[in-house]
Each structure stands twice: as structure tokens, then as C-alpha cells.
Amino acid sequence: MKRIKLLTIIVLVLVVSAFTVKGVISKTDKGYKVGDMATDFKLMNIDEKTVSMSDFEDAKGFIIVFTCNTCPYAVMYEDRIEALNRKYASKGYPVIAIMPNSITKKPGDNLDAMKMRAKEKGFTFPYLIDKDQSIYPQYGATKTPHTYILEKTDKGNVVRYIGAIDNNYKDESKVTKKYAEDAIDALLKGEPVPKAKTKAIGCSIKA
């Protein structure tokens, strides 16, 4: 009898740990694919109020950008992220920027630094901090900047685009493909996104 009890416990432990390990892997390695339903979040903004996608009642979708202060690639895209918000927020696609880095590893990305950067650059979009680092793994973001375009549907926010904002991080004047804009323009017209996934270079998110 004792033996059976012990066996049951061992089996239980094994099963539970197997699930846990699997959970962790799928969290960090997989993330969302185009077509998946994206989770909402409740994260601290630079004005120290929390922001969720559900706060935007009139939105048709969202431009979620995982970005930060300290990555040069992210910095090179700051003005273009702001431009996206100015162009598309009024059309129903506001930008929500999320800073995913550990602030122990990257003190230059702490909330005060984020506030300062937003003020300097005149960001008109929410700039949130993923303080528990719980949101970016669900999305599958691996770097800054990393862009997700979501379309609001009756069932939730569907991922319609993942990748880069455009095809030239270095020189905006030499951009020939505006992936993010093309995706939103298509969604606004009710058409399929022409290129739903692109590769973007960036700085690995510091966990």
C-alpha cells in the first residue's frame, strides 16, 4: 500500500514537472503566430497609470511595439514609431509601446529613464513597462524593436503582422517597403495583409 502511494506521488511529480517544463518552453520559444489571439495586458505607463488594450473602446486594432531606450536599433526607429501613431491612431490603430527589458540588467530602461526619453522625443503613445516580464514571452518577442499588429475582432485581438516596421533601420529616406503601414492599410480596407511576417534585426530582450 505504501509502495503504491509512493508510486502515485512519483508519477504525479513527473507529470506536473513535465507540464511545467513544457509550459516554460512554449512560453519563451514559441509566442504568437499570425492568426493567433493576443492576450490583453495591464501595464504601467510612464504617467504611472495602467494601460490595457480594452481601454481603447473605439480602436479597430493596435500597433504593439516592444522597444526600449538603450538599443540603438530601437532608438533609430523612435521617430518612425511616433509617426505611425500620428498617422494611424486617428484611423483606429494606435501605437502601444512596451519596454520588455529587465531594469536590473538595463538600468537605462527604468521607468524614470523611459519618462525622460518620452518627454525628449515627445511620444504621443503610451510607453509601458513589462515590469514582471510576463507579457513579452507570451507574444514571443525576442528583441527590440519587435512589432505586432493586431486586429480587434468580436473574439479578441488577432495577430495580423509580426516583424519589422520597414526595410531600412538605418536610413528612413531609403525605405522601399513599409511593412507595418502596408499591413494596417490592408486591414483598414478589409484586405489580407500583403506580407504578414518579416525578419527584423534588434537587441535581444534582457531577461
Partner: protein
């Protein structure tokens, strides 16, 4: 046009260096070797992806370790000495190390060259200047999401991308899987 400027810059810097050397030719050997080092490093090997691609697909009998890094990338700089050490210890065992810098052109003079000089980097360094990332990232490896640091190890028969940072031991372990 970019190349023309670069050539002019190199030419100018060389001449300037020469004149300096002529003036100071009586000075100690130390100074000469330093200026030699500098002029050697003036010639950064700057490539677009098409020009880099051959270095990622060599069909020789060597094992190639290719690390993508930048001077501004903290974790990259931290692991760089391990690549140098691997190169020092394995260069006679048919192992080559290629450090692909993703530093931006505006930082070549200010950051990259001083870094290479200061740390006396011995591995081959090339600079990749190609902003069309969606085109070239998958050509390095379809599995690469674009985050750096990242390391590619390949031989004629095996090719693996490592989306991680390395300690010396970890890097050596991976390398040994290619050396059998």
C-alpha cells in the same frame, strides 16, 4: 560614392600617418608599431550581405565560427574574449573565427576601430552594413529571429545557429561537436 569617400579617407589617413612617421622616425619602436597597428586597422572590411555571404558558406575542411556582434551590445562584448580564446587555442586545428560587426557607419571611427585596437582582436573582423534585414537575415539561418548576439557554427557537413551567449566552456563544447 560611399566607397570613394572611404578610399579617400584611408588614403588621407595613410599619408598623414606616413608624414608623421617620417618626422618622428627617430622615436622608439613602440610608437611605430602602434601607428602600424592603427593604419592596419584603418582598413575595415566593410561588406553588404552579398559580399558577406561567401564567408558564411565556405566549402573547405575547416570549422567556421561566425559571431554577430556590435561594440554597443553588452552581452556581445562580454562573450567576445571567449571567441578570441577559442581562436587562439584552435586556429591550428582547422578552426576559423569570424566576427561580424553590426556597428553603424557613424561609429566606425569613434567606437569600432578603438575597440579593435584596445582589445587587440586577432580573429578576422568584417563589418556588415546592409539595412535590408528581411532579405538577409533568413539567408544566415531561417531560424534566426534577428536578435543579437547570435553565433553560427558550420562545417561542410553540419550547420547550427546558437541564439544564446557563450561561456568559454559552452563554446568549446559546441565546437567539439563539429571537430569529430
Amino acid at each position: 560614392m560611399k566607397y570613394l569617400i572611404l578610399i579617400l579617407l584611408v588614403a588621407f589617413t595613410c599619408c598623414k600617418g606616413d608624414q608623421k612617421n617620417k618626422k618622428n622616425y627617430t622615436k622608439e619602436v613602440e610608437k611605430v608599431s602602434l601607428s602600424e597597428k592603427r593604419s592596419k586597422l584603418i582598413e575595415l572590411d566593410i561588406r553588404n550581405f552579398d559580399q558577406l555571404e561567401e564567408l558564411l558558406n565556405k566549402e573547405d575542411n575547416k570549422v567556421h565560427i561566425v559571431n554577430f556582434w556590435a561594440t554597443w551590445c553588452g552581452p556581445c562584448v562580454k562573450e567576445l574574449p571567449h571567441f578570441e580564446e577559442i581562436y587562439a587555442n584552435y586556429k591550428d586545428s582547422n578552426v576559423e573565427v569570424l566576427l561580424v560587426s553590426l556597428d553603424f557607419p557613424s561609429k566606425y571611427e569613434k567606437s569600432l576601430k578603438p575597440f579593435l585596437i584596445k582589445h587587440n582582436i586577432q580573429s578576422q573582423v568584417v563589418v556588415l552594413d546592409d539595412p535590408d534585414m528581411d532579405t538577409w537575415l533568413p539567408k544566415v539561418d531561417t531560424d534566426w529571429d534577428g536578435a543579437i548576439p547570435v553565433t553560427l557554427i558550420y562545417s561542410k557537413t553540419k550547420r547550427e545557429l546558437y541564439k544564446q551567449t557563450f561561456t568559454y566552456g559552452e563554446l568549446e563544447d559546441k565546437l567539439k561537436q563539429f571537430l569529430n
